[in-house]
Amino acid sequence: MSDIPTDLGYRESHEWVRAIGDETAVVGISDHAQSALGDMVYVELPEAGLSFEQGDACAVVESVKAASDIYAPVSGEVIEFNSALEDTPELVNTDPYGEGWLFKIRLSDPSEIEGLLKAAEYEAKQDG
């Protein structure tokens, strides 16, 4: 059974979002996603300053097994990416909700946060 913290929002495509105040959020991938992808070996993250609409492909995580697109779970401008993942991409496996975060984004539409899946809804999608 994968870990799904209840204080985060989720997308069906397995990204999580942690709101920090009203304007920014941290983005990562869920425990379920990292477990399915397996050992991470390379993460390609968006540079600060790039803007994405919700649902845009914005990053790529590569495990030994496969490359997988990451879709922006909310719209906005990237303000920081997790540079630790350049040398230690396995943080995505060992701590997907903490040290394995991918990037921080300045929200262009904070109301999108409310539209994300709740933990129970995300869990239900996995079972189905």
Binding site: G38, D39, V41, Y42, E44, V60, E62, V64, K65, A66, A67, E86
Partner: protein, 367 residues
């Protein structure tokens, strides 16, 4: 409806992540494919490869038939248990399948062929075999466990009777022995020493459990793929296919053209040689950050090529791959990944042998 091997319940109990692999529900990993990979390189791991197809050819014309069927020459096989790696070609010289043929006796050879190509491979065998006095028997009742790694043989030996161990200690690579229900071959698909063991499906669980107790770690097909890639071994459907010949696939060494033997595909290969072989299959090491995958464009001063296999090498901690490139290509190349050109080097496989990075790769990798 996916098929299950005799070890299916044992995989579930061991926490395997199971996937559909050409119609079989097989373990992709038991947690971390990286750990499983290292386990095989440094100690001993085992793979359930019961999905592979085992076919016996019996009859007075078995040798004649295989001499016609295979691009490598079964005339090299005379001692019981000796194995030969070969491609099976179509008339155009394209690869229908790659397989291992074991000589058992003059009227009995055993073939181990790919699961992914079972149907077309068996159909081809039946069709080509129709002109020969032979019988083709597929063995559904067998299970197969590959035990691989520097300590694999020692660990297998702890489970066997002393007289069998004596025989196994003498067994040379690419040879097999048959002992009652056990067919033990010193072969593999990892670049490490070890055995591939065929047994009755009813014995599989007890052999598997005994091996676990002897310290052999269950490993999934994902680790098997990175291990074979590091070893420079080819995968059917990626590194060779029906529309390419072995000569364009780095498998010229498996084609025996030295006498007048009339094997299927020979004339096409000779024509290709006469006209000039355009492409070769070699290894790639990615120097920039990223991961090689099959199907990426390889740009060389001699023209473009394509990756046929690619992954991250757990031993080298770099992306490696196999690529079909123009014959005139040298070491220098770039690989296009998501629109970016990344620096790579063309090298001669294998990348890793017996747990160690291969000579020649080290220098470049250190730099």
């Amino acid at each position: 409806m996916t098929r299950k091997t005799a070890l299916h319940d044992a995989h579930v109990a061991a926490g395997a992540r199971l996937v559909d692999f050409v119609g079989w529900e097989m373990p992709i990993n038991y947690g971390s494919q990286m750990d499983e990979h290292h386990q095989v390189r440094t100690d001993a791991g085992m793979f359930d490869v019961s999905h592979m197809t085992v076919v016996d050819i019996h009859g007075p014309q078995t040798r004649d038939f295989l001499s016609r069927l295979l691009a490598n020459d079964v005339a090299k096989l005379h001692t019981a248990g000796k194995a030969l790696y070969s491609c099976m070609l179509n008339e155009a010289g394209g690869v229908i399948d790659d397989l291992i043929a074991y000589f058992m006796d003059e009227e009995w050879f055993r073939l181990v062929v790919n699961a992914a190509t079972r149907d077309k491979g068996l159909a081809w065998l039946e069709r080509q075999g129709a002109e020969f006095r032979i019988a083709v028997t597929e063995h559904h009742e067998l299970a197969m466990i590959a035990v691989q790694g520097p300590r694999a043989r020692d660990k297998v030996h702890t489970l066997l009777e002393a007289d069998v161990v004596v025989e196994l200690l003498e067994l040379k690579p690419f040879n097999a022995v048959l002992h009652d229900e056990l067919f033990i071959a010193r072969t593999g698909y990892t670049g490490e020493d070890g055995y591939e063991i065929l047994m009755g499906a009813g014995q599989a669980v007890s052999v598997w459990n005994s091996l676990r107790e002897a310290g052999v770690m269950p490993c999934g097909l994902a680790a098997r793929d990175t291990l074979r890639l590091e070893a420079g071994m080819h995968l059917y459907g990626q590194d060779m296919e029906e529309d390419v010949t072995p000569l364009e696939s780095g498998l010229g060494w498996t084609v025996a053209l030295n006498d007048e033997r009339d094997f299927i595909g020979r004339s096409a290969l000779e024509k290709q040689i006469a006209e000039g072989i355009q492409d070769k299959l070699l290894g790639l090491v990615l120097e920039d950050r990223g991961v090689l995958r099959p199907g990426q464009k390889v740009i060389t001063p001699a023209g473009d090529g394509i990756t046929t296999s690619g992954s991250f090498s757990p031993t080298l901690q770099k992306a490696i791959g196999l690529a079909r490139v123009p014959m005139a290509a040298g070491e220098e190349c770039a690989v296009e990944i998501r629109g970016k050109l990344l620096k790579a080097r063309i090298v001669r496989p294998p990348f890793v042998r017996n747990g160690k990075p291969c000579e020649g790769l080290l220098q470049g990798l250190a730099g």
